[in-house]
Amino acid sequence: MEGCVLTVGLMAALDTRTDRRPSFAGLLWGSTVGKKTAMAVSGIVMLLYLVVHMLGNLKIFFGAGTFDGYAAWLRTIGEPFLHHEWFLWIARVVLVAAVVTHAVAAYQLSRRDIAARPVKYARPSPGRHPRWRRFAPPLSRRRRASYATRTMRWGGIILGLFIVWHILDLTTLTVNPHAAPGHPYANVVATFSTWYGDVIYIVAMLALGLHVRHGFWSAAQTLGAGSAARDRALKTTAHALALLLTAGFISVPVAVMTGLVS
């Protein structure tokens, strides 16, 4: 009898399992968790790029010659294995792929999130840590969504628009007031000599700081790297990265405005 019970039981068990599976990429893109993974990976690619970009920008403090020379060198990376500017184009393709992946995933997830919670509460959550009871059991520290967390979507939109302007301004030079190809130093100074150039840039970099602050920590969680033991280190790194990037990038327009760079 036991044998029969077991057989039938196992048959029932098999019924509940589907063995047809899509590919790894399909599994990822097909689920909210996987899409977040794609966002995390593309975000980290962009973050690494930004660190390099920010450090390169600082060369502006060594004068026009150094800065323009650095810009010219970027086009020669990989030669003679790669042709002139090939490396740059490869980097651009990777970056565009990262931006598109990040943006499309964010768009799709956001639409889903908004649909999943269409009704707001009559009284919004007070945004403070709920009271501890007297003699409350020792539970893990409570966490409330920070400003950075709540502004991720708007921050992302601001950064997206900024990237478009930034490329038109300093890559294609379409909207640059100076627009001298091969003279990035002069173009940068020209942009930051206008009030709107400074405002757009600084606002975007503040948004970047907030975005990175939650984004880095969040990416670590999404990729499964977080834990209670590692949380402090991750948070510190996120804060440091956000601060360094924002400060590094903003130092350039500030230097132009104050006449340190001209």
Partner: protein, 674 residues
């Protein structure tokens, strides 16, 4: 349906033929379960899917049975009133689950667990059933571990156990203070797997309101979809009731708010005998009530009595703060009356002692009957300033072990107490008072767990079988899972194999039509009265009455008073009940009122059973039957039987059928704790 048209007085009950368990095999007790399983007919696996089994309830017993029957290949149709099968009240059990694993090498064995359970039940349980329970207990732990139940473990990775409820061996497995939750989730997950596989058809938020009996066999139920109010019939080859106990008759109990007796009571009305309804367990360490608004009581693990000292002031009506009462004006009454066991006396003794000191006017705390009674909607005389609560003091334990040791041992219980009372138990003594906790009585079942209606089975707390007059700590979870995982799935085969139903029954069958019509009429009548009292007010009234006269201590006079009063309340109920809304919608007031209809009948049977059993045993204490030093006196010569009652009509005397209890292996002895 409800009018008291009884020709004879309710207390003049006739005694019918004895009721006999014909299923337990003869022979050595240790071999009976094997013998029964071998003798039972089997259903061919290929034919099982042609058989449908209805299971009512998704607690430990129901969830385990539904999952297991579906695994065996039967088609299962299952019901629960909650919004999810995961919420059944088994989830609230704290302490643990017993099993005769003997992992501690401390002399435990199947036979010792059997012995302890029979003795703990005060010799009012059937030996064959209890022995099987002890045998099966071992498999339960294996099963639960395989399901991923996170039992407490030691550093070596093996299971931890503790001793519980004054037992001398360490056989209780636990998962912190949430053993019931973890075991229930294990059963729920197994059930979920079968729901996903299509083997179990789950109806949540659906309540069984009647049993359909066709040609003397249980063939289906009438159930109401609580969301839409739709009343439907469901048919099967057998019906299993796993609907829990009836402690909510008392209004205030540790049961869940919606736990109810309707399924078992409706089955009783359709012919299933109800056994030992007066056997209720009162748990001594509950948090006292704070006022008339109290809706339920919360239990704290009785392990607190290991280190806490119980006392009340020596003087009556002493209202000083406990800190201001000097040592020599305190009465550590358990230590005084029972010097050898002290604060660790069994549950019923501790409970009764607390009641006695409170009756003397020495109770403490704000709660109790001070303002209760005597008013409109109360059947109990004024409480006369009685306060209900005694101190459970940890001051000595903190001084002896240090606060951190007490915190490590009882921290979560102290937190729970603090949350509910807003008092810091590290500073101020806890206050406790007994509360209704578990009902040992239930539908009478034979060794196969079949009731007196063929095809109707009762498992878990819904049946009467294993605990006699008193249940040991950590045995409820064991019995629920034993019945659900192992016993019923084996015994039901025999019934299904012997009764292949060829004729399909459907909603057009006269029995089904009649059951549906009666249900609809009852609900319509509840809605039509449009009186001036809420369902809760009646529930509170019957609960108070039962607590007063059929609670911790019962007397002939008190029970007769209650028996006189209950028909009056019933009459008033049908005159003054007010249920708003309609029956065709989600209507929680209607659900409640309909359950109270059944409490008003069950309460009467409980009182009659308590009245007829003129002895004290286990959870049933009759003041007339005491030893000279005030202890419970069991009277084996007259009452060594289980009382199975056969329903006659509402308010009419039921017929008593006795099942004589034979003790071949554990010989009855009188308890002594003095």
């Amino acid at each position: 349906m409800t009018a008291s048209t009884a020709s004879t007085a309710y207390t003049d009950y006739p005694t019918g033929d004895p009721v006999v368990d014909t299923k337990a095999p003869k022979g050595p007790i240790a071999e009976r379960w094997d013998t029964r399983r071998f003798e039972a007919k089997l259903v061919n696996p290929a034919n099982r899917r042609k058989h449908t089994v209805i299971v009512v309830g998704t607690g430990l017993a129901g969830g385990a049975a539904g999952a297991t029957l579906a695994e065996q290949g039967y088609r299962v149709v299952q019901f629960c009133y909650q919004d999810s099968p995961r919420r059944a009240h088994s989830i609230a059990a704290q302490g643990g689950i017993n099993a005769a694993k003997n992992y501690r090498n401390d002399g435990d064995s199947v036979h010792r667990l059997f012995y302890d359970t029979v003795k703990g039940g005060d010799f009012r349980a059937r030996e064959s059933n209890v022995h099987r329970l002890a045998q099966v207990s071992v498999e339960i732990i294996d099963q639960c571990v395989a399901q991923g139940v996170p039992f407490a473990r030691e550093y070596g990775g093996l299971l931890d156990t503790r001793s519980f409820g004054g037992v001398q061996v360490s056989r209780t497995f636990y998962a912190r203070g949430q053993t019931g939750q973890q075991l229930l989730l294990g059963a729920y997950q197994a059930l979920s797997r079968q729901i996903a596989a299509g083997a179990v058809e789950m109806h949540q938020r659906t309540e069984m309101l009647d049993l359909i009996v066709v040609d003397g066999r249980a063939r289906g139920i009438v159930a109401r979809d609580l969301l839409t109010g739709r009343i439907d019939t469901h048919f099967a080859d057998a019906v299993v009731l796993a609907s829990g106990g009836y402690g909510n008759v008392f209004y205030l109990s540790t049961n869940a708010m919606n736990s109810n007796a309707t399924a078992v009571w409706r089955a009783h009305r359709r012919g299933a005998y109800f056994a030992n309804p007066c056997f209720t367990q009162i748990h001594p360490t509950c948090i006292p009530r704070t006022g008339d608004h109290q809706s339920k009581l919360t239990l704290m693990s009785e392990s607190l009595r290991n280190d806490g000292r119980i006392w009340v002031p020596k003087a009556k009506g002493d209202r000083r703060s406990p800190k201001d009462i000097p040592e020599d004006e305190r009465d550590y009454y358990l230590e005084r009356i029972y010097p050898s066991f002290g604060n660790l006396v069994p549950r019923d003794i501790a409970s009764r002692a607390a009641k006695n000191v409170c009756d003397e006017g020495r109770g403490v705390g704000p709660g109790g009957q001070e303002q209760r009674g005597g008013a409109e909607g109360s059947s109990v005389e004024g409480g006369g300033g009685r306060r209900e609560g005694v101190y459970l003091d940890f001051a000595d334990a903190i001084a002896r072990m240090g606060r951190s040791a007490v915190e490590a041992k009882y921290g979560n219980l102290f937190d729970m107490y603090a949350r509910i009372t807003d008092e810091d138990p590290y500073e101020v003594p806890m206050r406790i008072y007994p509360a209704v906790h578990y009902t040992m009585g239930g539908l009478w079942v034979d060794y196969d767990l079949q009731t007196t209606v063929p095809g109707l089975f009762a498992i878990g707390e819904a049946n009467f079988s294993d605990h006699g007059a008193n249940r040991l700590g950590a045995s409820a979870l064991m019995q629920g899972l034993a019945d659900g995982y192992f016993v019923l799935p084996s015994t039901i085969n025999d019934y299904l194999a012997r009764h292949p139903h060829k004729d399909e029954v459907d909603g057009g069958h006269p029995a089904a039509v009649a059951a549906v019509r009666e249900t609809e009429e009852r609900l319509a009548r509840l809605l039509a009265v449009d009186g001036d009292r809420t369902p809760d007010s009646f529930h509170r009234e019957i609960g108070e009455l039962m607590w007063e006269y059929c609670g911790m201590a019962r007397t002939d006079a008190g029970l007769r008073k209650a028996l006189a009063r209950i028909p009056e309340i019933r009459e008033e109920f049908w005159r003054r009940i007010k249920v708003p809304g309609t029956g065709e919608e989600f209507n929680q007031s209607l659900e409640k009122a309909n359950r109270i209809v059944d409490y008003l009948e069950l309460a009467e049977l409980m009182c009659l059973d308590a009245l007829h059993r003129a002895e004290s045993c286990g959870g049933h204490f009759r003041e007339e039957s005491q030893t000279p030093d005030g202890e419970a006196a069991r009277r084996d010569e007259a009452f060594s039987y289980a009382a199975a009652w056969e329903f006659a009509a509402t308010g009419a005397a039921p017929t008593l059928h006795k099942e004589d209890l034979v003790f071949e292996y554990v010989h009855p002895t009188q308890r002594s704790y003095a």
